[in-house]
Amino acid sequence: MNMSTRWSFPIFLLLVVGISFLVVIKAGQTSTNTFLQIQVAPSGASVAIDSHDSGSGKQEINPGQHSVTVRKHGFATQTRAVTVNPGQTVYFGAILEPNSSSTQNWYNKHSSDQKLSQTIADHSADYQSSTDQTATPFLQLLPLSYGDGMGGLVTIAQGVPVPGSSQPAIYVTAKAPSTRQGVLEYMRSRGYDPATMDIVFIGTVDPLQEAGTEDYR
């Protein structure tokens, strides 16, 4: 019996132990069913989630807040916080800006990366819009305008988020306090909870604030 024949069976047994072990470990891993769908431009940029290299594409992660860093030599590094709820798939798109002479006009010179960056920009806009409408379904009804019954006009429209918020705010123009309360009643009567939205009432005067302060929620 030569050496290779002598050791082949023990090595085979070790492989059996190892494979059985790994199969059980893999079967025992519970999926978090929570994902980050990552797309970055230019191609070849490295991606790290919470300082661990991950790559782009669909990445399974634990629910919660994560820090995602995208970097490539010759481009400005981007680091953004992203919060993913259990069972959710969140889109993360990043387009790095060139920051060296060697990468100047990169996207104009590299048509595939230009196409990729355009895809990411479009997808990010669509994703943001759909996320906003999921979080605040009332946005789907906007813009709205109607007469207040006193010769004035009530307008309700979507606008930029207020400080401290990442969701679009709802901007309301209505002349009288009763009309403004009427807008809230209208929302409630349609099944929307005003407390779940940032609502900015334009043109109101707050006696508790210093003179000259006009806009507040």
């Binding site: 069976f9 072990f21 025992g28 634990n62 407390a195 940032d198 609502i199 508790l208 929620r217």
Partner: protein, 218 residues
Amino acid sequence: MDNLRNRLIWVAACVILGVVGGLAVNYQHSFRKVDVSIDPGLNVTIYKDLGGDGAFNYNPNSKPIARLSASQTITIRDGTYDTVVSDPTHEYENPVVKFVVAPGTDSVAVSPSYTSSKLATLLANEQPAITQALQAEYPDFSQNYGIADEQLYEQGNWYGAVLTPSAPTSDALRVILQKQGGSWGVVTDPPQISIGEPSFPNIPTDVIESVDQLGNGS
């Protein structure tokens, strides 16, 4: 023939060894360290939730997972647990708090709310300090507004009210204050016609939604 049988026995033994080893590692990895934060003064007992419908389901005669009288880190397996707050004087609205430990869980908070009658009693004691805080923040407050509907929340550390204007040209406003370090401070500064959850992530959503309903007849 015997040789083949022996080899098969060896292979089976190695499969069993691998499976047992894998199960042992999986079992070990199903434990995680979780910071359990408990409001001061509470005594809590943690039981394994037995599943099924309903807010909680535990066997009070079973051996508890842990008994805690202060915030601490415990090592606990993935799963659902019921935290029972010692409540001999019936001060808490929900003396059993359910929580889930899963991959990624590193902290849980046990912070049951007082009953509405307990909160009403506390409000009577807190009213002067709250009015003083509003007055300090808004010197013209008492000239322009009165407090119409007000309520304390959770452990009496959150306060919400509707401020009604003395002038018909002004809006009724809603305000939320929080008690921290023994003193009250306005969190929704300035008071607002409608308080939005997205711009106040540090205020419990239950509190915002309840304050939004104050004075609406519900």
